[in-house]
């Protein structure tokens, strides 16, 4: 769909939505939000971009194929679950650092876990949507 208006709007909306997605991700522990919704919003941002500018330019924008987000995110989540095992605790025990960061709050394995979720969700949503829209059956 080539519409100058949509194209321009989406170019400005993309960073906005991404920002929003990260915001939703980080505040999930305190207010509604979290990795899922954050990831979904981020992927919506890219989908929108793709609607306006075509798939190729979105792919170029992403630099990496969307599929690459999946194992990365999975690995982050898995490792954040495994990390406590090295400290002699069961899988997925929460470990918190005592540094307090605004919005994000405490740094801890659950946060990294959520970040992993975030990436996986972006990866899968984009993989699915891009695959479908670029394949002409």
């Amino acid at each position: 769909m080539k519409s100058i208006i949509l194209k321009t709007a989406s170019n400005y909306l993309l960073p906005l939505l991404l920002l929003f997605a990260v915001f939703i991700l980080f505040r999930g522990h305190y207010k509604p939000g979290g990795g899922f919704v954050g990831g979904l919003i981020a992927s919506i941002a890219f989908v929108l971009h793709a609607f306006a500018n075509g798939l190729q330019s979105t792919r170029k924008l992403l630099r990496y194929p969307p599929g690459a987000f999946i194992p990365t995110g999975l690995a982050i989540s898995l490792l954040s679950g495994l990390a406590p095992m090295f400290a002699g605790k069961p899988f997925m025990s929460a470990e918190w650092l005592s540094i307090h960061i605004p919005i994000i709050g405490l740094l801890g394995t659950p946060l990294f876990f959520d970040i992993g979720v975030f990436f996986v969700v972006i990866g899968i949503a984009l993989t699915i949507l891009f695959t479908i829209s670029e394949t002409i059956l």
Binding site: I4, I5, L16, L18, L61, P102
Partner: protein
């Protein structure tokens, strides 16, 4: 700009937050690629504010007009699609312009031609085509371009 929105979103006016917002914005901008004209926003704040008030005034006026028509049983409409030659040239200008047109009741952008010369506007109360075009040209488009250029 993004930093500002971040702070708006989070609603915490703390220095650390600004810093974090800045870093984050930087990262996102790096991700989405170069944004050459993003810096210029800040210089035009006063113009923007006056424009906003102008726009709200226009919008309220038009809204009342339409509202009256909607709730009264008979329609006074004379709708039509008008070709409107653009002065705005850049994508940003066009987008701003069209969005504002659309936000004003009674007018709606249907499309921009591929060579960006004209827009097609659906107008609800089209008494006189040329008068309508002149009204927009002198009011909204001029003020908008003043801000953006």
């Amino acid at each position: 700009m993004l930093t500002l929105i971040w702070v708006m979103l989070t609603g915490e006016l703390v220095v650390v937050n600004f810093a974090f917002g800045f870093i984050l914005s930087y990262v996102i901008l790096w991700i989405v690629g170069e944004e050459d004209d993003s810096k210029r926003y800040f210089t035009r704040v006063p113009a923007i504010i006056s424009f906003i008030f102008f726009f709200i005034y226009e919008m309220l006026k038009a809204n009342l007009h339409v509202a009256y028509d909607v709730i009264t049983p008979r329609f006074f409409m004379k709708p039509g699609i008008v070709k409107y030659p653009l002065d705005a040239r850049t994508n940003l200008e066009i987008t701003f312009f069209t969005n504002l047109i659309s936000l004003t009741p009674g007018t709606l952008i249907l499309d921009v031609s591929d060579d960006k010369k004209v827009v097609y506007i659906h107008v609800m109360y089209l008494e006189d085509k040329d008068a309508f075009i002149q009204q927009i040209k002198g009011g909204l488009e001029k003020r908008l371009l003043d801000i953006l250029r």
